[in-house]
């Protein structure tokens, strides 16, 4: 059976510390755009911690949730891409083929989660910052869209490893950078086709829900609510 990679985000564990955000930058060669570009709304964070105030002082709360590409089964970004740069892989990922992208940005408009980012300029890593770049992840040039890949390079590495050892991929073998970094273990990644996997178990939780579920995008990320939020 093919894998179907998914993630569960336990909002009750998440403390909003943003370790995942930096981990994602480090793993995926995401450039920092600098203050001028950030001021123009071009900062890139494949994963972000969204925050919403509720109520007013003193009865005020801050609700937050990490949002990354939801890797939808019925992804609105895929059919609209004229060049198949945004397409569905056999194991259910919404892949972005940077080399095939011509930068219509249509996928980003169609994405209800706004998790797709555009390279407005060629990325800059003043030397020797470039030495940090992850050789397993391509650096995107100006004019292409990029987004969370569920750290597809880590998935491939484990798949290759497992194949070499002639074994199946075990639950927990693969950890995207965000899940690996999370101090509170709020992010759990795994195979949704394996009913025994931790992510499957969590996705079945009564606390679970999908982000913007009513749009019918069939996301593979499940959010587990904080009991005190409901």
């Amino acid at each position: 059976m093919p894998h179907r990679w998914g993630m569960a985000v336990d909002l009750d564990r998440c403390t909003g510390c943003e370790a995942c955000v930096t981990a994602c930058h480090a793993e995926n060669n995401i450039p920092t755009v600098g203050p001028e570009q950030a001021a123009r709304g071009r900062a890139m964070h494949w994963i972000r911690v969204e925050r919403y105030w509720e109520g007013d002082f003193p009865d005020v709360r801050l609700k937050f949730r990490p949002v990354m590409c939801q890797q939808c089964d019925a992804a609105p970004c895929e059919p609209v891409c004229p060049t198949y740069a945004s397409h569905h892989t056999a194991d259910g990922l919404n892949a972005q083929v940077y080399n095939r992208c011509i930068g219509t940005r249509y996928c980003a408009n169609a994405c209800p989660y706004n998790v797709r980012f555009f390279d407005f300029f060629n990325p800059q890593w003043p030397k020797p910052l470039h030495l940090q770049l992850n050789p397993d992840v391509s650096v995107r040039e100006v004019g292409v869209m990029e987004k969370c890949t569920f750290c597809v390079q880590r998935i491939s590495a484990v798949r290759t490893q497992a194949k070499a050892e002639t074994r199946e991929i075990k639950d927990g073998d693969i950890k995207p950078a965000c899940a690996q970094a999370c101090p509170a273990k709020a992010l759990v990644f795994g195979d949704l086709n394996d009913p025994e996997s931790e992510v499957s178990r969590l996705s079945r939780s009564p606390r679970g829900s999908k982000l913007l579920d009513d749009l019918g995008t069939l996301p593979k990320v499940t959010y587990l609510a904080r009991p005190s939020d409901s």
């Binding site: 609105p76 011509i102 940005r105 249509y106 980003a108 169609a110 209800p112 989660y113 706004n114 292409v144």
Partner: protein, 454 residues
């Protein structure tokens, strides 16, 4: 044929061919000015490609803005021509005769300019050909599920059809130019005339080809702007995802097309001294048509906004409020004034429906329809489902220069065209003469051409 009629036909030849052979310094000045604006635009585009797309004001999440607005705008303008001309031909409206070619030319050029924008707006425009199917070793096709690929087919079909529709009735006139000129002009127009001799067989074939094209181009024209509307309505974006967009876009396109046509006609009338051929009645008739489209457009936008407001779905309500009352409100109400209030007042009062009145109304409509497209594209993208990712948009100089230069490009192409080809279809006008001469007395009395030439 009466003697009077023959005299008028000869005057017609002279008047309408004059621009082709006589060139004043004003013409060259105009071409130089427009040409330099267009060159600035092209240079700016090159600069944008060289420095990176970030030179625009586009940002996350407003990934489409000025360029796509202007794309839809020009595609809308293109509906003036071919569609209006085809309908008028089919219903055999006599007053169409001096109008059709001015209109069809608008279509051709507006489409060419409009079709540039999807390429200008690409992140990697040098790879624009990936939007088209072309044979390649790796068997990679474009994604036929993407409305952008539909766009490519729709626009290229429409452009081909419109060019044919423009060129077919040009053949007899090109032959006329061939016959009336000497030297290099004679040779060039000889080639362009495609061996037209005016035999009955040729006339018959031309008439049937025109008839077929007129019928065929109407569904194409309607489909083009419907497909352009699909660029928006296929995406799950608040207030884009709407069934009304197809007819709404088509109506808006014809609306803005008529406005563009009126402006073009008025300009030609003034600068090429074609008062003899373009009469107030032409403007009044087009004005009435534009009034009708204004009302239709108002009806559509009322429907669109009422249902959203009444439905009160949370994501759509935010877009509704930000356009209606929020930061986009000034633009929104300007649009309503430009597309409804001002044209309604000018065009529905007979005294105001003069050439000047129609031109004023047309200018407001052109502005209003550009704003309409802007207000469709930007507020929705800036206010999608997750408020944390909402954004603002301000155009940057490169976008403004490039968009402005396309207006100059339109005028430039129009000026050059009217320099090379009779902008009013001479042979059709002549056919009209015969028609007028043979008309019943009552019709003849009412016909303004007759009034003008007693």
């Amino acid at each position: 044929m009466s003697k009077d009629s023959a005299r008028r036909i000869s005057a017609m030849n002279e008047d309408l061919l004059r621009p082709l052979v006589e060139t004043s310094w004003r013409f060259w000045l105009l071409v130089a000015v427009l040409g330099s604006i267009v060159a600035t635009g092209l240079g700016t585009w090159a600069y944008q490609m060289y420095r990176g797309f970030g030179m625009t004001g586009i940002n996350m999440p407003i990934y489409w803005a000025f360029y796509i607005t202007t794309f839809v705008f020009w595609i809308g303008i293109s509906h003036a021509g071919t569609l209006i001309s085809a309908i008028l031909r089919l219903v055999n409206a006599g007053w169409r005769r001096p109008v059709t070619r001015c209109a069809e030319v608008i279509t051709a050029f507006a489409l060419m300019i409009g079709a540039m924008f999807p390429i200008i707006h690409l992140g990697r425009p040098w790879l624009f050909f990936w939007l088209m199917p072309y044979p390649n070793q790796r068997m990679i096709w474009p994604n036929f599920r993407s409305p952008l690929v539909w766009d490519f087919f729709a626009i290229s079909t429409y452009l081909t059809g419109s060019l044919l529709f423009l060129l077919l009735p040009m053949i007899p006139d090109l032959a006329l130019v061939r016959d009336k000129t000497t030297g290099w002009r004679h040779r060039v127009y000889g080639v362009l005339a495609l061996g037209w001799q005016g035999t009955p067989k040729q006339w018959h074939r031309l008439e049937s080809a025109m008839q077929i094209m007129a019928i065929a181009i109407i569904p194409v024209a309607v489909s083009v702007h419907t497909i352009v509307s699909f660029d928006f309505s296929m995406a799950p974006v608040p207030m884009w995802h709407s069934a009304i967009f197809g007819p709404y876009f088509v109506a808006g396109a014809i609306f803005s097309g008529i406005a563009a046509l009126i402006i073009a006609m008025a300009a030609l009338r003034k600068f090429l001294h074609l008062e003899e051929y373009l009469h107030p009645v032409h403007f009044q008739n087009l004005g009435k048509l534009m009034l009708m489209m204004s009302l239709l457009w108002t009806y559509f936008i009322f429907n669109e906004r009422l249902t959203v407001w009444y439905g009160n779905a949370s994501a759509e309500r935010e877009v509704f409020l930000v356009t209606q009352r929020g930061s986009f409100a000034p633009l929104f109400w300007t649009m309503v004034a430009c597309n409804f209030a001002i044209p309604f007042v000018i065009l529905s009062i007979k005294k105001l429906r003069t050439i000047t009145g129609c031109v004023i109304a047309s200018f407001t409509v052109v502005i209003g329809m550009w704003l309409e497209r802007f207000l469709i594209v930007v507020p929705s993208l800036g206010h999608k489902y997750l408020p944390y990712t909402w954004g603002h948009y301000r155009p940057r100089p490169v976008e403004i220069i490039i968009v402005a230069s396309t207006f100059a490009a339109m005028v430039l192409l129009y000026v050059l065209f009217s320099k090379l080809v009779p902008i009013i279809s001479i042979w059709e006008l002549k056919v009209g003469e015969h028609f007028v001469a043979d008309a019943t007395p009552q019709e003849a009395a009412e016909h303004p051409l007759l009034k003008a030439h007693p």
